[in-house]
Amino acid sequence: MEGDIAQMGQFIGAGLASVGMGGAAIGVGNVVGNYLAGALRNPSAAAGQTATMFIGIAFAEALGIFSFLVALLLMFAV
């Protein structure tokens, strides 16, 4: 594979940036896991909190998306 140091930096940086998505996965799993644990204890109160769960998922997911965006920008937009 040809290229120069800058391109190597691009690839290495993109690989490093994708590590951030692991944190996002843990965060989203945390939110949904806690929701499930609560919903199985108190099923009638669960329906009212689905909106809160989705907001929590969006916030946790957003940071993973930011890190994916950094990886994409490094790879393809220099």
Partner: protein, 249 residues
């Protein structure tokens, strides 16, 4: 954006699908040039009009299928605005449903093959998020005057801590439109770029069955994410509005 040389040994360019191109040739884009962005935004508005206006034209008591879908989406957003922002905020309902419908249809239309996802551009989502931010700030000051700034003074915290918390709250207030816009644009761009990357794998004969299954799975996830991101944009706009309408913690 990406040039031929910067991508060295790569032969596919998954980010090329996000390039804004003029519709009728030429490569200079003025503010009045019809581009693929304007075309797909126009199609979004046409689809929304077809669903909500033409679909409910019959006004049947027992709704037809299209009228039923229109009524369901209306009721869903109405209930969300009522629950999150409160009963006195239903005058903001037209704005929230406009936001939700536009983002939902723009996301869904972008899933069609060869289509362009207008909400994947930070330019589009930044305008939407800035509009929400300006609306919330103007409504807050118009309704409460200077006591809108009580939003940043956390009275539940001990007194020495309050200035520090106020600074943090002000910073996070101004970061809101940033995260609001990047969340939507990033999700859409990331989803479509991933589909394109898997599509490039499908060109390699050895792994193409797995690549096609992977594309289908990611496509299904994208449909779900399109809906969830539209819903999250709208519900966060409602949460920010609630902050403006009731700034005391």
């Amino acid at each position: 954006m990406a040039t031929e040389e910067s991508s060295g040994g790569l032969v596919f360019h998954p980010m090329d699908q996000f390039i804004v191109k003029p519709l009728f040739g030429g490569d200079v884009i003025h503010w009045y040039t019809p581009t693929n962005v304007t075309l797909w935004m126009f199609l979004t508005v046409v689809c929304i009009t077809l669903l909500l206006v033409v679909g409910t034209r019959g006004r049947a008591i027992v709704p037809s299928r299209i009228q039923s879908v229109a009524e369901l989406s209306y009721g869903f957003i109405y209930k969300m605005v009522e629950d999150v922002t409160g009963k006195d905020a239903v005058r903001f309902f037209p704005y929230i449903i406009t936001l939700f419908m536009f983002i939902l249809f723009a996301n869904f239309l972008g899933l069609l093959p060869k289509a362009f996802t207008t909400t994947s551009h930070i330019a589009v989502t930044a305008v939407l998020a800035m509009a929400v931010f300006l609306t919330v700030t103007v409504v807050g000051f118009a309704l409460h005057g200077m006591s809108f700034l009580r939003l940043f003074w956390v009275s539940a915290a001990p007194l020495p801590l309050r200035p520090v918390l106020a600074l943090i709250e002000i910073i996070s207030y101004f970061v809101r439109p940033v995260s609001h816009s990047i969340r939507l644009a990033g999700n859409m761009m990331a989803g479509h770029a991933v589909i394109k990357v898997f599509a490039a794998f499908a060109a390699v004969l050895a792994i193409s069955p797995f690549a096609i299954i992977a594309i289908s799975a990611i496509y299904a996830l994208e449909v779900l994410v399109s809906f969830i991101q539209a819903y999250v944009f709208a519900i966060l706009a409602c949460v920010y509005l609630k902050d403006a309408l009731h700034p005391h913690h």
